[in-house]
Amino acid sequence: MAKPTEYVKHIESYVDSSSSPSQQAASVDALAILLRNDLLTLEALVRELDLYLTTTDSIIRSRGILLLGELLTQLELKPLSDAAIHSLIGFLTERLEDWRALRGALVGCLALLRRKTDVGVVTENDAEAVMKSYMQYLQVQSMGQHDRKLCFELLECLLERYPNAVQPLGNELFYSICEGIDEEKDPQCLILAFHIVEVAAKLFPDPSGPFASYAADIFEILGRYFPIHFTHPKSEDIGVSRDELSRALLLAFAATPLFEPFAIPLLLDKLSSSLPSAKVESFKYLGYCAPMYGSDRMAKHGGALWSSVKDVLYTSPESALSVESESDGGMIFEESDIMVEALILLEGLMQQNSDLLLDMILGDEDINNFICSFLKPWDIHDTPLQLRQQLHSVGRLLAVSAKSSMASCNRVFEKFFPQMMEALGCSVGNHSDESFATEDRALSSRFNYEAVSGNAQSSFAYTGVKGLQLLATFPRSFAPVSLLLFENILLKLVSAITSNFDKKFSWGLELKALVEIGLYIEGYQESEKAATFARIVVDKFVSWISSDEPAMPLSLKMQAICETGMTGISNMLRIVQGMEKAISAKFTQAYVDGNFESVELVIKVLECYSARVLPWFEMNGGSEEVAWNLAAIIWDKIDNSSSVNLTVQNYELLGAAMTAMKQAVRRCSQESQEKIVNRAFRVLSASTLFPLKDSPFATSLSNSEDSYLNHHVDRVSCRDEWIISLYASVVIALRPQTHVQNLKMVLQLFIMALTKGHIPSAQALGSLVNKLPSKTNERHLSQEYGVEEAIDVILTSSIWNFCQSNTLRKCSLFGGGNEIHNTKCLAGLNHTSVHISAIVGLAWIGKGLIMRGHEGIKDITMTFLGVLLENTNNGDFPESCDPIEGKEQEVIPLMKSAADAFHILLSDSEDCLNRNYHSVIRPLYKQRFYNSVMPLLLSSTRQSNSIITRSMLFRSFAHVISETPLSAMISEANKLIPLLLDSLSTLTEDVMHKDVIYNVILVLSAILMDKNGQVAVLENAQAIINQLIGLAAYPHMMVIRETAIQCLGAMSELPYARIYPSRTKVLQAISKALDDPKRAVRQEAVRCRQAWASIASRSLHF
């Protein structure tokens, strides 16, 4: 026996409200161990507790009773004498009236009532006393959550464990249940409450008993919770999931048929909701409750139920085409959850009372008419999606009906099957489609057989309807189909594709079906069928390329051809052969005569090559032969023709040919590329572009050559333009290792062409300087030029003279001398366009250099800056009243192109100088350039005092920052932001700059959003806000206004003290934006206004 001192300290520790929860738990455990090991008897403990249990201090009393309750919970498995249990339960029952110390009594009662029979249980009389005390004293809804939960657990336990004790209480019990669960909102308590209703309802099944009179009240309380809707975002927080709760409510609903008069109307009412989850829940509950309520009770709702099921399944079926069914002709549906649940309900109802429901289904006029309408010949492809969904639903409906029993199956069969068979025969005649018909007959006879033999009866009706649909869904089911039949099907499909091209949807399906068949054959290595496929489909399609038959649009033809080709390598090769032939046949015609149809055809074929065929070969590991052949064919054709007519289509053709050439060349190996480039050079050197081909080129062109070039370029013939464009395309796509012959001549030629404004030549020059080997020792033995030499040749050319009279050259020679000569500037006004072309060309060359990180870029940048500065700094172009007004017209475009050159330098281009075209790309080249050019730009901006120069410098600045990665600039955001704002205010002066403004404001918004930019933003908050307010009303471009307002909205997140002074100003500006003509701006304005208004208060008064 333990000494009193041992356990008294535990008791005191527990009762003492100042001890921590862990101490209290430890004391309970210690006492429980003592009791369990019989070191302490319960009697002794109770005697010791005496004062704690009865004191008038309610806090101590409640602790005392709670201790008793906790101990009883721990001793659930310890045998106790009946007398002890009786006296304990008696005491605790009494304490239920003591609301101040309720929890202990609840815990204790619960522990005693839950005891197992072999360790001594509470008698029924005592349980009844507990129940009575419960009903008399407990006001469940006025308690806290945990106490409510305990009360519900107690009630649940009483109902489950002591049904005989609670049964006599009848009405009072239900009154107390209603009172207890009404308005309950806690999910954990609700689960218990639902379960209590369920148990209670099962306890009193008598339709005239006490439950019956309370059923309406109880259901009113329960019904409010349907459908269960959780506002808690996470169910983990509350320990109960929505599904558990819903399940408990479902069980309560279904607990007794007495709920039927209330539940069914409620559930039917909720079906009218358009919320899918509510519908799903309603069907689920209906499906579960229907069998529980029994067929008699459900019979009177039959009509309403059928109409709601029909509504969901037939009137507005919400099934989605399943992903794979797209290719099968679009007849496999994935049913929505609602439909699944509705079908389950229907199934349940059919099993319960099949006659009634079947009468309704079979007698339903809509369904009958619908089926009849499909017994006429029809074409699946012309059927709108909704009709097909309905067809699918009706099929499911009949299948479910037929499934329920033999009798119902027979009825469905009798009603519809003869009609269907007849219709199938009918469709054979009118469809003039033997292969489909055979297929269908086979299917129907199989269904027939199944129906007769009585096996798998359930599926026949469903499949019977489906049989009609199977017209389009066949590829996979072809395994047993004979070759002849296969041929017929292919022929049929091909003819359908040939004639049906005006019906876009069905055409696509037919083509997909063919592609599926092709893939299927390829996948299963069926050589016979593959041969048939190639013969019937591929060859047929290939023959279309160059013939006028069939009369379908060319783009569709090409689509059909490419897609069938992609089914396999052999098919693709056939198609490539066909396309090569077509190009050979038509190219000359297209290119020499400009024959409209040939041009169109060749363009399409070439596009097809570059967009589909070549990538396909690359993906599927085909040889480079295809690419090589294409390039070779084009060069042959060019070589063999002598003159070209220049038309608009011809330019399109040239574009397509260039793209195809680039795509083809870039996929070739180094050797093939060298072959192509040599072949191309031969054509080039034979052209009229090379009168000088034998004359030696000096390292620098003389001034007379300058004039010669300008004159010469003007006269470049169309054929020459073709040749040089295609040659440029080849050069752009070369690998760095590929050797280019006669590089010097090529360079001169490109320089000449770019002064004419020929961009591809400029791009080719850029690619060349990008890829040429940089040092002599790395160089191929055969390579006559390295990048240094190439740059020498390029930069010494006289075309740059206009800007700096060869400072460019001096810069590179004397290490960046900054002197600016202006001797030849604007020597002749008619040269402006040539100069602009030269600047653009120089920009592309610079891009090539910048990407490989070559030093030469410095000179080029200086050239651009020189153009920007020189026109004004020497007073040639004062701010106003220039006597030579014409000059402004000349100078501004020139300066603009110099500013835009920075855009070319830094932006990514799709046409050349990217990874696809094997460019040499040095990591972080943009960052490096940014760091080197920014100081130059800034100092120039500070020095210049002409408005135009400043705006042009800011334009360059804007190009640089918008193309440089944000991470490179953000560390200097502090310096950058004032500049940004300056540039914005300068650029807004002229409409010409609107695109650039947009780019700048995007950079600004990126800085606003970036964590690292926050400090800088904060320091310049006022200035930024002022600038943004101005831009919010920028009249020339909507996106600028929109972005400005978005940025303003983001500014509202800054610390209150910083931005509060601007609040009124911003709100006034934004309320003007509320009236903006563009909706997107208005919407942003509403958001922004809300954000700014709420930084002070919710009210918008200001």
Partner: protein
Amino acid sequence: MTLGLINANPVVHAKKKRVARPLDDPHADDAVDPLEIYDYVRDIRDPEHPYSLEQLSVLSEESITVDEKLGRILITFTPTIQHCSMATVIGLCLREKLKDCFPAHFKVDIKVAPGSHADEEAVNKQLNDKERVAAALENPNLRQLVTECLYSSEL
């Protein structure tokens, strides 16, 4: 049993999908249309339930008319039940929201749908009387309720 909610279990409808507007002529002006107004008001929370007015079918796009030339907006809403004492609160919310979202020159009329409310005339009168609206919004309780409905994040 207890006097709690006015409509304890309203029928809830699905939110309609927000359809992105087709990109119209970038140079033309976008007139204010019912859909734009609806987009602003559809997510106002019901004063009684954690559902939006759209979910409870109190509002629909069709119930809004707008005349941009005259600068008039008319919204007709349908309370969930005839005796809904929340109708005026809903109306106040609508008025507040539109005041925030449109420039001041629009005149906003708010009405309950004919036949949908027992005190139709009284409610209409109350909602379109600016003195009464101003007075109502000075009542701190009402103000708070309106603010909660407008800016609730419960939805």
